[in-house]
Amino acid sequence: MNFDPRYSGRSFTSVGTRPIRPDGVDKVTGRARYGADFNMAGQLVGRVLRSPHAHAKIRKIDTSKAEKLAGVKAVITAADLPDLTDGDAAMYDILDNCMARTKALYDGHAVAAVAAVDARTARQALKLIEVDYEVLPHVVDVDEAMKHTAPLLNDAIFTEGLEEKPVKPSNVTKRTQYGHGDIHEGFGQADFVVERSFKTEQTHQGYIEPHACVASVSSDGTADLWVCTQGHFVYRQHCAQLLGMEASKLRVTSSEIGGGFGGKTHVWAEPVALALSRKAGRPVKLVMTRDEVFRASGPTSATSIDVRIGARKDGTITAAEATLRYSCGPYAGMWAEIGAMTAFACYKLDNVRTVGYEVLVNRPKTAAYRAPSAPMAAFAVESAVDELAKEIGMDPVEFRIRNAAQEGTRSSYGPVYGPIGIGPTLEAAKNHPHMKAPLGKNQGRGMACGFWFNFGGQTCTDLNIGMDGSVSLAVGTVDVGGSRASLSLVAAEELGIDYGQVKAVVADTSSLGYNDMTDGSRGTFSSSMATISAARNAIKTLRDRAAQTWDIPIDDVVWEKGHAIAKGEKYGNLAALSLKEIAAASGKTGGPIAGHSELVADGAGVSFATHICDIEVDPETGSTRVLRYTVVQDAGKAVHPTYVEGQYQGGAAQGIGWALNEEYIYGKDGRLQNPGFLDYRIPVCSDLPMIDTQILEIPNPNHPYGVRGVGETSIVPPLAAIANAVSNAVGVRMTHIPMSPPRILAAIEAER
């Protein structure tokens, strides 16, 4: 790392303002190009044939009839995507997910694909492909899948992480454990103990833009891929590895992305499109239908979680324990492990233990979804915490404040915390007017806390200064929600120029060094660090050019407010040189002026939030209405506060949908019953109130401006906050998410 990333307190000129985003006009005029908005001359239409069975052996695939259909240019199966993963298990799983090899493992699993001259021909061709399936027993429920009698998805899986190596294969790929202290002793000190089991159903990221790409492989082995993705460099690596290509010969351009939330972090159909293009010798456009998106991409884990928490009469938690079972789809994952790490992260605990089980089921491969695994764990823990506070007779906010983690606390996942924001968010919530607002009949208030790690990672940025003094910033992290605006602000801040002088773009994989994808709330955090570094490098060059112009040593030139200034009385007659003036002369002083940066932006700094919500329940129908919702979250430093608010509001809205109505519903046949926006019910505009936000700024010591990631934490508390509100409204503890009207009504009726 070529610069000092430490936080230094300073006042800002551009950072913290709210200008219009640079990509905005194209997005309000329909000009912005997303995955499906790009076309190439001579392109074919790619379509994927998917398994109608939840679990089936593929005996034989006969593609001969499809190949003979006029207009069909290529038909592929797993045979056209041979295994080149060389023992890399994670990549093998991605390959098998892209195209089933020996078994179809879920309803919607790809088994073959075609490229044809038009969509109609491609559709007809799919019907002509004959697949001989041997249908196998299936299992979709996470608890059922753990039973010894459950159908096995993969008989080569033996549970890892057990004391003794198991002799029999299992659907449980791994057991993990976190914690410290002695929970038996801790529970022994408790005056009150709450013990509950919880369940959450599987949800989908629900991005409005289906996966889409255009792939073009040339006969010389070079290729282009246009694709909607959260990480085009990662997609390049994946595709190159799976197709046996050299990474540098595959240029990947990220389109505008119509939402990802974790669902566009690894490849799904892109290697298939490339393989079709390679075989057909023509570009192939492959766009998933909404049905395919739900059946074969994305979803998060379904979970089953047991929680036990004990506390003394004075409100001190003495012990906490959770067992977390997370579905992974048909391939090994680390979803329960993340749940186990995050479950109790908000609290200061002397005795804590969490155990996670990763469980295979005949559902689509689980993908990351915004703070993956944390919302479900928080739902279980924060529900139990609320119940425990009630038993002790303490206010739930006070109870949490009393037990909140702080700097120096050993986290439940191991390390000791640096400066963190859980306490301040709780204090802010406690003092928020929302907490004191009166409630009506059938209304309940709930609150809950949430935690997320946040990531940094590999980042590379180019900052080029034009001869007219305008600045173009090329970043490699995909802009999922306004990061080009915030990065332009950062460049303007560092250079001391106007925001309008900077234009940020997302560069393709051939124009910039490797960047990790936009995940883990790292987009603005890491690229701003690289942008600051690149700007500082450019400033060094600018100072050098000014020094040359003045013929004085560079050490006598400082950079202030967008100008080079010769410091010291002896230079009193030298007028400051603006960036524009230095740029205009750059052809004579040494050529173009640029700043480059490549770094690993680690030290993202963990993030906490506290949410408050009011819910009204119709006791006769179980129908709910969110009356009021407030998000309090630490941003470190809000670079563009409007987009920070947007992240808070968006995460809360997704969490509200998850809490109340969103779920994957499988039939007895193991087929997904609701693969569409009609019956997979994400919140609509009339379902929600305005979502109030309060941004706290507790600087991250590992970022020059104190920035933390903000994108994910906001989805962690809502499930629990709403469950607590509903439980308070109806007087029955809700333990199953989503709290759909039939579930709420059944709970009320059972209590009567």
């Binding site: 905005g24 997005k27 289906p210 239908t289 947007g646 505009c685």
Partner: protein, 158 residues
């Protein structure tokens, strides 16, 4: 399958095209006419990303056949700005950051334009129900509703 010859008006211009009888107007706009502002989020009328105005009525272009546009007037997002000046709704969406990923934005703008044409002074509730056919997964709708409120007050004053 014989193509259907269609003559229609799109954003004020006469347009002629040949389409298949089962082809949706959305596919015609996007694939034949290069008007990719309308997006396909679902293809079943559940997300509103393909919203257009057909003879003064807000519709999902994925639920209209290309052949049905014969002799009618189609308005798309590409026709919303006048020359280089944005429609007040477009301007307010920018100012309020009423978009994150932006994929739903063209549909929201068209739906909001239709809403304000029929109800120039809507309440928050009327805006929320009026835009319930347009899904947004990023914003939580807060800033969208505020942008529409602000645009309505600007348009009333104009």
């Amino acid at each position: 399958m014989a193509g259907v010859a269609v003559s229609t008006t799109i954003n004020g211009d006469t347009v002629e095209y040949l389409c298949q009888p089962d082809e949706t107007l959305l596919d015609v706009l996007r694939d034949r006419l290069g008007l990719t502002g309308a997006k396909e989020g679902c293809g079943t009328g559940d997300c509103g990303a393909c919203s257009i105005i057909l003879d003064d009525r807000l519709v999902c272009s994925c639920l209209v056949l290309g052949a049905e546009a014969e002799g009618r007037h189609v308005e798309t997002i590409e026709g919303m700005a006048h020359g280089d000046s944005l429609h007040p709704l477009q301007q307010k969406f920018l100012e309020h950051a009423a978009l994150q990923c932006g994929i739903c934005t063209p549909g929201f703008l068209i739906a909001a334009k239709d809403l304000l044409a029929k109800n120039p002074d809507p309440t928050e509730e009327e805006i929320r129900f009026g835009l319930a056919g347009n899904l947004c997964r990023c914003t939580g709708y807060d800033k969208i509703v505020r942008a529409v409120q602000d645009a309505a007050s600007v348009m009333k004053g104009a």
